[in-house]
């Protein structure tokens, strides 16, 4: 039963994100519509037009321009927001690198959707997996509550003075973006206090004009800048643990942090997942536990920086595990699998399978997760595609 004393409402993932930008005191929004993210921007535009949200909203002619304009506003020291999906994010690719390299803590909400062709508007993580090496942090949620909370936590993390990197906050197309479910609305005043004002130390000052991102020769501090970005990004794992604790205390919430271990304490076998399919996976874990099988689930929320030490600590002692990739990438294995395996290299030796599931919005059903658990309990390894075969 929900705690009826709290401020709940029923809303879609898109509505939760739009409301969260208002709570977070976002002052500038620029975006270009694309399914299934459009409702986020529509809702923000409506709140701005009705003077319920004190922000400037501009509609631009492309996603490249959307990212360029939030880069400008953020450089001026204004908390900025944009949202996109799929091919829209691909079109931003160049600007994503600029924003990260200039250390601008912009937040972009992403509704994860596949990449064509063939044309497909449904959920998978290919659009953001392609962008995992742009210098943006990435946070994957599993519910509409997390769609709201990750916006608030995302700004707090990105704007930390020792991090100052942009962050993408993800939810799955339709499974969250168009699903209505209860969300506890965080108190606006408390959120503002939690976040404080954006204080960008290098913001534009007309009295002292500066060049941003100008030419840097090989002997200039080019490598040093890149090294500093990596160092800052990897310091964000511990910061995120601290910030999560502060958030949970303040809002009486139970946000998991960089990773969530579900029934992992005495597990022999586990699956590692990202995003909304984790919910169904938990349902399956619970059922298998009732049948006496010692299984668990490790959910990655913070995918960039990859929380390698936390992952190792959860996997230690397992007899086997599987990693579920919901994206089409063309390395030797799926991208999440490769991140996990390279993190544990030389530290743990556990058989591991790489499942590919749910591409282009294909439903990842209860029986699919049961099949995955059966396979890892049988010690299968390598890349295994789940629920494929043209009907």
């Amino acid at each position: 039963m929900r705690n009826m004393n709290k401020n709940w409402n029923i809303m879609t993932g898109n509505e939760a994100v739009a409301l969260a930008t208002k709570l977070a005191g976002v002052r500038f929004v620029s975006a270009y519509p694309i399914t299934p993210q459009t409702a986020i921007v529509e809702k923000i535009a409506e709140m701005v037009a009705n003077e319920k949200m004190d922000a400037k909203f501009i509609e631009v002619e492309s996603e490249h321009s959307a990212m360029a304009s939030v880069m400008g506003s953020e450089l001026a020291g204004v908390r900025s927001f944009t949202a996109s999906s799929s091919h829209g994010i691909l079109y931003m690719h160049e600007m994503l690198n600029w924003v990260a390299g200039m250390r601008l803590p912009i937040l972009m909400a992403v509704v994860n959707r596949s990449i064509g062709p063939p044309w497909n508007i449904w959920a998978d993580h290919s659009d953001t997996m392609i962008q995992r090496d742009t210098g943006w942090m990435q946070l994957y949620g599993e519910s509409n509550q997390e769609a709201m909370d990750t916006i608030i936590l995302g700004y707090k993390l990105a704007e930390h003075k020792d991090i100052l990197l942009p962050i993408m906050v993800m939810q799955d197309a339709f499974t969250l973006s168009h699903t209505s479910e209860p969300v506890e609305i965080r108190d606006e005043m408390v959120v503002r206090e939690f976040l404080g004002d954006l204080n960008l130390p290098f913001k534009i000052d007309t009295n002292r004009p500066m060049g941003y991102g100008s030419l840097m020769p090989p002997d200039g501090p080019f490598m040093e800048l890149k090294m500093d970005m990596k160092k800052s990004m990897y310091s964000a794992v511990d910061r995120f643990v601290e910030i999560t604790k502060e958030f949970n205390d303040l809002f009486d919430a139970n946000f998991p942090g960089p990773v969530e271990g579900f029934m992992m304490e005495d597990a022999d076998y586990a699956l590692i997942t990202l995003g909304s399919i984790s919910s169904t996976a938990k349902y399956v874990v619970r059922n298998l536990r009732n049948q006496g099988k010692k299984v668990g689930l490790l959910r990655i929320l913070l995918y960039r920086p990859f929380p390698k030490d936390l992952v190792i600590s959860y996997l230690r002692g397992l007899k086997g595990f599987g990693v579920v990739d919901r994206s089409s990438t063309y390395g030797p294995y799926g991208s999440l699998y490769m991140d996990v395996i390279s993190s544990i290299y030389g530290k743990l030796e556990i058989p591991a399978a790489n499942f590919v599931a749910g591409l282009g919005g294909r439903d990842v059903r209860v029986k699919d997760f049961e099949e995955m658990f059966t396979k890892i309990m049988e010690g299968e390894e390598g890349e295994i595609w789940i629920n494929v075969g043209v009907k």
Binding site: D162, M210, G211, E224
Partner: protein, 97 residues
């Protein structure tokens, strides 16, 4: 604190005249003050001046604003000389000065 790729390098500290091997010289006796050179200069190194005691080709140009070259920043590209419709700008070797 984080490292940020910003640079404070005002142009007053960075005079680009040293890049020049040839320099443009305006023959005010031919210059009709059409300001085409001012429009085309890619480095904003041509300014507008008035009241200097300059030559002029014809009495009716006497009181008009005239272009002048800011030799601190002119890089000697020669675009002004190329564009001038009256051949009033010559490119002169720096060594001859």
């Amino acid at each position: 604190m984080v490292l940020v790729p910003t640079a404070y390098a005002p142009s007053s500290n960075n005079k680009t005249s040293s890049w020049r091997t040839t320099k443009p010289v305006i023959d005010y006796g031919k210059c009709t003050r059409c300001m085409i050179c001012w429009k085309f200069c890619p480095d904003v190194a041509i300014g507008v001046t008035q009241g200097m005691n300059l030559e002029f080709p014809n009495e009716r140009f006497a009181k008009m604003e005239a272009p002048y070259i800011d030799y601190d920043y002119c890089k000697g590209c020669g675009i002004c000389a190329n564009e001038c419709p009256f051949d009033a700008i010559d490119m002169v070797q720096e060594s001859e000065m």
